[in-house]
Each structure stands twice: as structure tokens, then as C-alpha cells.
């Protein structure tokens, strides 16, 4: 028989290679292997996977991650309700819907737990829930995704538990970082703009304060809308702005001075630093705007101090040198007078020896007015000595007694002095000036030498009175002086430790945030032009006609305040309208 039919016969009678009665076992084994593989996959999954009975939510199966999350071995986890694994779910029912056929509530026991809940099923029939799961490590955040399945006609619910602690932590860190940078942004003492496409897109609180505008106003404006058309130093605002923005966008950080406008139109000087950064792929600019008005003021104070110290030194040196010859002149004039006086035995004896009659010599003197000349010499010497003494004071620390003083009391006393001052009465009666007092109640005391500060305040009142006397007031305006007493926190723009104004090496302020008592004397006289204002405290600088005062009053005041008291004295003016002197003296700290 041919081979082929041999094979066929073998097969037909059941003796072929593959002739074994049908068995599902190999196929089943393959499927079991697939299941085992799938099981291994599930076991290795980082997510917890649980299979639940749909009606009771009893755990039928769970993978390793689920057991880990639940903190229970598989044997303890299975056969118990889901809430045994996740205690937060106690009493909770998922709002799950089955397939389309289950959308309508059914009769009978197969309707399942999800129908009992007041559930609105999601489109996918899936419900998600975030729970806090206690664990040894202090707790996990788990996101549960429950979904209904019908397998072999039985309803099941699958529950995937994902550990989202890390994700939540990262999100929280991001929020925290955002809060941190927002705080930095908002707490900055400089105004900050975030600029894109030439417009302000965000601004911090300080920017709103500085520009006097609410945020929503700022965020629709270009920097040039907040500036005068011309920049005092650099010219056309629009052109300069364009150039600066372009350069900064080109990656070249810009730092420059600028004049901005407040909402009320008042200009202020600032320094701007402009640099580029990238946000979501878009180029942005960050503008840090520092108001340098106070800084300028401070710089002025420093320059002033420097100048005053050197001038004061020179003046004191000169005074010291002049003092000796002046004493000699004074003494000589005095001796001259005494040696001419009759009735003095030495004079009588000398006259007798010289053979002259002392009476006649006296007579000659009178005829020639010599006695008057000597008196003039003595009077001139006295005046010079007075100046010299002031000049010496510039370089000498006072040893006047100090106490804690209420400056409003000292100010009132100075006003009283001024009202009764002969000199002042003579020329311009102080009592014709309207005094307006703006004293802030509760102002702390300042430690000072009351006599010295009284003198300073008197000088300022005198200065005001003299200024007023030089102004021709229009009909409706009356001479007036405003006196203010209040407190001030720190010296504007003065950095910590920079308040040393006397060169003594001791800090003028115990700290940058030291409180000062502020006393202002503001007149509505002719005011000072800038040239005059910056020199106002220089010795011998005066705008008064010669002979009308020594020009030392303000200098003396300056040294008393700054050197003797560690305070500040500042003059500001709007020419033609007003002039204001401000004295700042360190306040006595409450409770200190």
C-alpha cells in the first residue's frame, strides 16, 4: 500500500501522531497561563486592583498593591466589605450605573447597590473618589476608580486604587512655591511690573501704592502711560522706552533712571531694572521700579552733613584763633577806660607825675568823643565774642542737662518767647502772624536738652517771622505759621546705621525703624529757591540785609539737632508759597 494511504489509515484508526480524543485541557492550560500572566501583571502593578461583588461591595479578589494599601494580607482582605480595606468608605455607596440595559431601575435582587444610592451615573459609568488612607508611613492619598462590569451574567465592580500622595504633594509644593513667590512679589518694597507685548500684565501692591492706581488700571497700561512725555535726563519718553524694552527683550538687562507720574500727576524719580524671562515659551519682562525720591533726600542730607561738618570745623578753628586777639582788644579797651577814670589812685599818681590834671584830660576826651570810641570798641568786641562763642559751639558737645521732653510744650514756650522778643517786636510783630497748631495727640517724648531745643525752635520761628516780613501778601492771604508735632517712623530713605550725622561714630538712630518725634514749622512766606534752600544751614549764609542778624541762627540749630541730639533738620520749600523746617528727634521708646 502506498505510504500516503498508510498514514491515512493510521489516522483513521486513531493511531496518528495527533490522534487523541478531543481534550480541552491544553487550551484550558494556555488560558490559565494567560490568566497567570495577567495575574502576575496585576500583581506587579503599582495600582491596587480589587474585584468587588456589585451588590455587597465585598472584596472578591485583590492584587498585592491593594493588600499593601489596605494593610491586610490577601486572606484577610478578601471576603470582607470594601470599607474594611478603606475605612473612609464606611457607609458609602458608589453611584455606579451598569450597562445601557441597567440604566432603568430593574425589579428583583439584581438591581444592585448602585441603584439604591441617589446616583447620577457618569457617562462612562465610572466613579472616582479621593480618600485618605491611614498607613504606617503616616497616611496615603488614594484615588479610587470604581466601575461596574458584567462578567458571565454576574454584576461586579472593579476598583482601581492609585496612590496619588506623590502627585498631591507635588501639586501642594507647586502651590506653596507659587504662594512663596507671590509673597516675595507682594512684599517687595519696590514696585514690580510684569510686562508682555509692551503692556503691564501684573503688578505688585507696592506698584499700586507708588503709582496711586488700582491693579486693574495698571494692567492695561504701557509704562509710557505712567510717565511724562519728556524724561529730564534722556529725552522723549516714547523713544527711550522703546529702546529700553527692545534691548531688555534682546537679553540685555537694563538699569536706568526714570521719571514716572503718580495718578495725581505728581512726578517722582525712580531707578528701573528691566530684565527678560520666559514664561510658557513667551518672552516677558520684569521691571523693578525703585522710588528714589527719599534716597535723593537722604543723599542731600548726607552731602549737607558732610558740608556742615567741614564748615563747622573751619568756623570753630577760625573762632578759636580770633578769640585770643579779640580778648586782647577787649581787655585793652577795658584797661584804657579804667586807666582814664578819675578817683583811681594809680591814675591820680601818674597824672601828678606827668604834671597833667586828670580832670582836664577827661575833658579833652569828652571834647574829642574818645570815651565813646572806647565804648564802641568794647561793644564791637562783645558782639564779636558772641559770634565766636557760637562758632566754637559748632565743634563742641554741649553738656546741657537732658530730660524727656514733650516737644509741643517746648514749641509753645518758643512761641511765647518769640511773642515777647524785643527784636522781633521791633521789626515785625510776631503776634500779627496766625499760628496754627497741628499737634498729634499721644506723640511720644524725646530726650533732649530743653533749653537747646527751645533755642532751635525759637530760631525757626524767628526765621519764619523774618521770611514773612519780606513777603507782600496779596489781599486774601494772611501771614500764618503752621506748627506740627507728630511722630515719624524712621528717616525716609535712610538705610540702617546711616543716620550718623555728627561724625561722632555713635549711631544717631538706635535702629532703622526707630521712631522720631517730628516738629514742623511751616510759614507761608516767600519760600526759598533751590540755591538758597541747599545752603540754608551754612554759617554766615543769609538772605537778610547786612547787619540784620549774624546768619548763624540756622547753623547753630543744625548743630544742636544733628550733633547734640542725633536728630535731623530738613528744609523744604515751594518758592513763593511756603517753606517748611522739619526737626526729627529720636523718640523715647514706650516701655523702654
Amino acid at each position: 500500500m502506498p505510504k500516503r494511504s498508510d498514514d491515512l489509515r493510521e489516522k483513521l484508526i486513531g493511531l496518528g501522531q495527533a490522534s487523541t480524543r478531543k481534550s480541552y485541557y491544553p487550551e484550558l492550560k494556555e488560558r490559565l497561563q494567560q490568566l497567570e500572566l495577567f495575574r502576575a501583571l496585576l500583581e506587579s502593578a503599582g495600582d491596587g486592583v480589587l474585584l468587588l461583588d456589585a451588590d455587597t461591595l465585598v472584596v472578591l479578589d485583590a492584587n498585592g498593591a491593594a493588600c499593601r494599601f489596605a494593610g491586610l494580607p490577601w486572606e484577610a482582605l478578601t471576603g470582607r466589605p470594601l470599607a474594611a480595606a478603606f475605612p473612609e468608605l464606611a457607609g458609602w455607596k458608589p453611584r455606579l450605573a451598569g450597562g445601557a440595559e441597567d440604566a432603568e431601575p430593574q425589579d428583583g435582587p439584581r438591581t444592585g447597590a448602585w441603584h439604591m444610592a441617589d446616583a447620577v451615573p457618569t457617562a462612562t459609568g465610572e466613579e472616582r473618589r479621593l480618600i485618605r488612607q491611614p498607613s504606617q508611613g503616616g497616611g496615603l492619598w488614594l484615588e479610587l476608580a470604581l466601575k461596574r462590569h458584567d462578567i458571565g451574567g454576574r454584576p461586579y465592580v472593579s476598583c482601581i486604587a492609585r496612590d496619588v500622595s506623590e502627585r498631591l504633594r507635588a501639586e501642594e509644593e507647586l502651590r506653596e512655591s507659587e504662594r512663596k513667590y507671590r509673597a516675595l512679589f507682594e512684599a517687595a518694597n519696590d514696585a514690580i511690573f510684569l510686562i508682555r507685548d509692551g503692556l503691564v500684565r501684573d503688578a505688585n501692591r507696592r506698584a499700586c501704592e507708588l503709582f496711586g492706581r488700582p491693579l486693574d488700571q495698571l494692567t492695561s497700561m504701557a509704562p509710557r502711560d505712567l510717565s511724562p512725555p519728556e524724561q529730564p535726563r534722556s529725552g522723549d519718553t516714547r523713544l527711550v522706552e522703546e529702546m529700553r524694552l527692545a534691548k531688555a527683550l534682546g537679553g540685555e538687562p537694563q538699569f536706568f533712571e526714570w521719571t514716572h507720574l503718580r495718578a495725581d500727576g505728581a512726578p517722582f524719580d525712580c531707578e528701573i531694572s528691566l530684565s527678560r524671562f520666559t514664561l510658557r515659551g513667551e518672552p516677558w519682562l520684569i521691571a523693578i521700579i525703585r522710588d528714589v525720591t527719599e534716597q535723593k533726600k537722604l543723599r542731600e542730607i548726607m552731602v549737607q552733613t558732610e558740608k556742615m561738618m567741614s564748615v563747622g570745623g573751619v568756623a570753630a578753628g577760625m573762632a578759636h584763633e580770633i578769640n585770643n586777639p579779640l580778648s586782647a582788644i577787649t581787655q585793652s579797651a577795658q584797661n584804657l577806660q579804667r586807666r582814664l577814670a578819675p578817683g583811681v589812685p594809680d591814675n591820680e599818681a601818674a597824672a601828678l607825675m606827668a604834671g597833667v590834671d586828670l580832670e582836664r584830660v577827661q575833658h579833652y576826651f569828652e571834647l574829642r568823643g574818645l570815651a565813646k570810641l572806647v565804648t564802641n570798641i568794647r561793644e564791637a568786641c562783645a558782639r564779636a565774642a558772641d559770634i565766636v562763642r557760637h562758632m566754637l559751639d559748632f565743634a563742641r558737645r554741649s553738656d546741657a542737662e537732658r530730660s524727656e521732653c514733650d516737644l509741643s510744650v517746648l514749641l509753645d514756650r518758643a512761641v511765647e518767647l518769640a511773642e515777647n522778643d524785643y527784636d522781633l517786636k521791633k521789626r515785625h510783630d510776631f503776634r500779627n502772624i496766625r499760628i496754627i497748631r497741628e499737634y498729634t495727640p499721644g506723640t511720644p517724648r524725646a530726650e533732649c536738652a530743653p533749653t537747646e531745643i527751645e533755642q532751635v525752635l525759637f530760631n525757626l520761628l524767628k526765621n519764619a517771622s523774618q521770611a514773612i516780613s519780606r513777603k507782600a501778601y496779596p489781599q486774601r492771604e494772611k501771614p500764618r505759621v503752621i506748627l506740627r508735632v507728630g511722630t515719624q517712623r524712621g528717616v525716609p530713605g535712610l538705610p540702617e546705621g546711616a543716620g550718623r550725622s555728627d561724625g561722632s561714630g555713635e549711631p544717631a538712630t538706635p535702629g532703622a525703624d526707630a521712631d522720631y518725634v517730628r516738629v514742623e514749622v511751616e510759614d507761608n512766606g516767600p519760600g526759598m529757591d533751590e540755591r538758597t534752600r541747599v545752603r540754608a544751614f551754612e554759617p554766615f549764609f543769609t538772605t537778610k540785609p547786612p547787619g540784620e542778624g549774624t546768619g548763624l541762627g540756622l547753623s547753630v540749630s543744625y548743630f544742636i539737632v544733628s550733633r547734640n541730639h542725633g536728630g535731623h533738620i530738613i528744609v523744604e520749600s515751594q518758592p513763593g508759597l511756603w517753606c517748611r523746617f522739619t526737626v526729627l528727634l529720636p523718640a523715647v521708646r514706650r516701655g523702654a
Binding site: 480524543r21 485541557y25 492550560k29
Partner: protein, 392 residues
């Protein structure tokens, strides 16, 4: 009782013939095995059959673990040990090589690995919930017919009884009946297993659960064994005689697996369980007494048995009765006794160490045996005890 009542016939896929054992690997592979537990015993392994089967398995790329810890009446403890080996070795199929003992033990192992628990939990009929892994049987004894039957007989060691686990789930997937494997069998074992097979055929034929199909196998088995057994005993190397014996045994197995047995096996199981006596020899001893006792309950059946064993006048021409019942009964009783003695067994129960005092206990245990329910005559404990007494 009608011949056309509902009947089921369960048999494994089987290959009969010279060299059938060599097909073990192929069939195991076709059944999806990748790692087999080969269950056998020391005697079979010593004869080289175990190794031969293992080789066919390895040739098919199937890994093997061998379990040889089976004794003559397989014990529950051995089953449990075997199932441990199965699990530990990660096996997915069982190949039994040997006589009734390794095959029954293999069935027990299969039951335990599929269902868990203890093998004794599954005692009784149809008490196995889950089918076992693929089971291939390579019988080497031509006697027990466990390779085709739904029976597994396990010795309950603490209770000292043999329990029967009867279930369609016990039928192997494939039986590879190779007469050549029986060539090495010793004379005594050949005789004992041969008489066991004869008992199977006689009990199945007389069973109250017989059917036309089982009758066919039973009668053919009685006829075949009746001549083949003594041909084999005359020349143990006679291949064809061995083959006829193997075929007879298989036919008997197919018959009794479906028609079930009777009082002989009930009594014999009791002896095996309580006293660990050899199954075949006990059957051979008890068969004549039980037949004599049962005869009147099914005389036409026993006449046919007698006829198949060559008893003259058992059946007349055209079905007429040639001789009276009691004559035929006595002739059959004598013939069965002769066959036993010719096969080399002449001891009574007493000579096996059974005492009269044990008979009541043996009878009580036999009464519980499932095989008793298909005995053509209903027997009570007293009658069973009498049968033991007759065989004493």
C-alpha cells in the same frame, strides 16, 4: 428488568496491542502535558517498564517526576505523599505505570491535586467535584482494570478498611494496554490477577446493573480468560496468550466499570482493608461461594457464565435448560474451585490468618461496600459472615 432501560457506558480512549506503551509520550503531549508525575511501584520499575514509559515522555519533550512509593494495597498516606510530589514538582499531568495499585494511587493523587483536601474526603460514588489533570494509564498486570474503570480503591490506614471512590471522573483519559508489558509478570501474580479479572467478568455479568453492552464484554472476558489464563500459566513467555489474557482483562474491566461488581469484591475489599490480604487471591477464594449463594437470584445469568467456562449442559440448544439449576450451580461451583486450584491457590481464609472472631467485623465492613448494592441477591451481614465462614 428490561434490557432497554437507560444505561450509560463509560470507557477511556484506549489503545490495545503490542507496543501500546510506547505511545505514552505522544498521548500525554496531545493531552497538554508539559511535566508529568509518573506513578509506579518498585517492582514495575525494576522490570524496566517505568523507565521505558519515562523515555517516551522525554522524547516528546515532557519533563517527568517519578513517584514509586506505592504498596500493594495503595494507602491514603501514599496518595497524599504523591500529591505533595505532584505539587512540589509543578506537574500538570499523571502517567500511571503498573498494576491496580499504582493506577488507583494515581487516581487518588489526581483527585487530591484537583480538589484539595484529603483523599478520604472523596469516598463514595460521584463525590469528586472537579476533574483531575490528564491521566494516562499503562497497565502491566492484566487484572485490576483500573486503567479502564471508574473505580479507585484506597486503603484507609487508620480505619483499616478499603474505601471505594467511584466516579466517572476516575476514568483515565487514555489507557495504553500493551500485552508485552505483562510478559515479565511472575507466575503467582499472573494467576492472581487473572482470577481477579475473571471475578470482574463474572460479577459484572451477574450484576443487577448489567446491560446488553456490558454483557457483551463480560461474556467475552469470561470465555477468553477461561482458556487464556491456563495457556499463559503453561508458558509465561507466550506472547499471544498474554495478549488474550490482557484483552480478557480489559473486556472484564469495561464490563464491570459500567455494570459494577458484587459480593465477592465487597467481601474481598474488607479482607484487603482489615488484613491487607492480596486482592486477587481473596477473590479467587470467595468467588465459588458467592456464585453458589447468588445462583438462584439469577440462574439464567450464571448458566451463561457456566456455559462460557465450558460447563457441560449449562445451556441447552435453543435456550432450553439442559440440567436443573442446582446441578449447574454445583458444577459451576466446582469449576471455579478447580480453576483456582489449577492456578495454584488452595488456601482457606484461616490459612491467610483470618480467625473466626474477625468474621463479624469483616462482614460489617463488607456491608458498607458499594459493590454489594449491585449483587444479584440482597445479602445481609449474617449472610456475608456465613460466606466468610464457608471460605474459612
Amino acid at each position: 428488568m428490561s434490557d432497554y432501560e437507560l444505561r450509560k457506558f463509560v470507557a477511556p480512549e484506549f489503545v490495545f496491542g503490542y507496543g501500546a506503551a510506547g505511545l505514552a509520550g505522544r498521548h500525554a503531549r496531545n493531552l497538554g502535558a508539559s511535566r508529568c508525575l509518573v506513578v509506579s511501584d518498585q517492582g514495575v520499575a525494576a522490570a524496566g517498564h517505568t523507565e521505558a514509559v519515562v523515555r517516551t515522555l522525554r522524547d516528546e519533550g515532557i519533563a517527568c517526576a517519578t513517584f514509586l512509593g506505592v504498596s500493594e494495597n495503595p494507602r491514603d498516606t501514599e496518595v497524599m505523599q504523591g500529591s505533595e510530589v505532584f505539587r512540589a514538582e509543578g506537574c500538570d499531568a499523571i502517567v500511571a505505570v503498573g498494576g491496580g495499585s499504582p493506577m488507583d494511587c494515581a487516581k487518588g493523587i489526581g483527585i487530591v491535586v484537583a480538589n484539595g483536601g484529603h483523599v478520604l474526603d472523596y469516598e463514595g460514588v460521584d463525590a469528586i467535584p472537579k476533574p483531575m489533570p490528564p491521566l494516562v494509564c499503562v497497565p502491566t498486570t492484566a487484572g485490576s482494570s483500573a486503567d479502564v474503570s471508574q473505580f479507585a480503591i484506597i486503603r484507609d490506614t487508620p480505619r483499616r478498611v478499603k474505601i471505594a471512590i467511584v466516579s466517572k471522573a476516575n476514568v483515565p483519559d487514555v489507557a495504553l494496554v500493551d500485552p508485552l508489558t505483562t510478559l515479565t509478570k511472575a507466575r503467582n501474580l499472573t494467576a492472581a490477577t487473572g482470577l481477579d479479572a475473571l471475578t470482574h467478568a463474572v460479577e459484572a455479568y451477574a450484576s443487577n446493573a448489567h446491560s446488553p453492552v456490558t454483557d457483551m464484554f463480560a461474556l467475552e472476558a469470561i470465555r477468553g480468560i477461561g482458556t487464556a489464563l491456563f495457556d499463559v500459566l503453561d508458558d509465561l513467555r507466550d506472547r499471544d496468550a498474554r495478549a488474550r489474557m490482557a484483552l480478557g482483562s480489559m473486556n472484564a474491566g469495561l464490563a464491570f466499570s459500567n455494570a459494577i461488581l458484587g459480593a465477592v469484591h465487597a467481601l474481598s475489599h474488607s479482607l484487603g482493608g482489615l488484613l491487607d490480604l492480596p486482592h486477587g487471591e481473596c477473590n479467587a477464594l470467595l468467588l465459588p461461594f458467592v456464585v453458589r449463594r447468588n445462583f438462584t437470584a439469577a440462574p439464567r445469568r450464571y448458566r451463561r457464565v457456566a456455559e462460557a467456562l465450558g460447563v457441560d449442559g449449562a445451556l441447552g440448544a435453543g435456550g432450553t435448560l439442559a440440567a436443573p439449576d442446582d446441578e449447574v450451580r454445583d458444577a459451576l461451583f466446582a469449576r471455579l474451585g478447580d480453576m483456582r486450584r489449577r492456578a495454584g491457590f488452595d488456601k482457606g481464609l484461616a490459612q491467610y490468618g483470618v480467625t473466626r472472631g474477625q468474621l463479624a467485623e469483616l462482614a460489617r465492613l463488607a456491608l458498607d461496600d458499594p459493590c454489594l448494592s449491585t449483587n444479584p441477591a440482597p445479602l445481609d451481614a449474617r449472610e456475608l459472615e456465613e460466606l466468610y465462614a464457608e471460605a474459612l
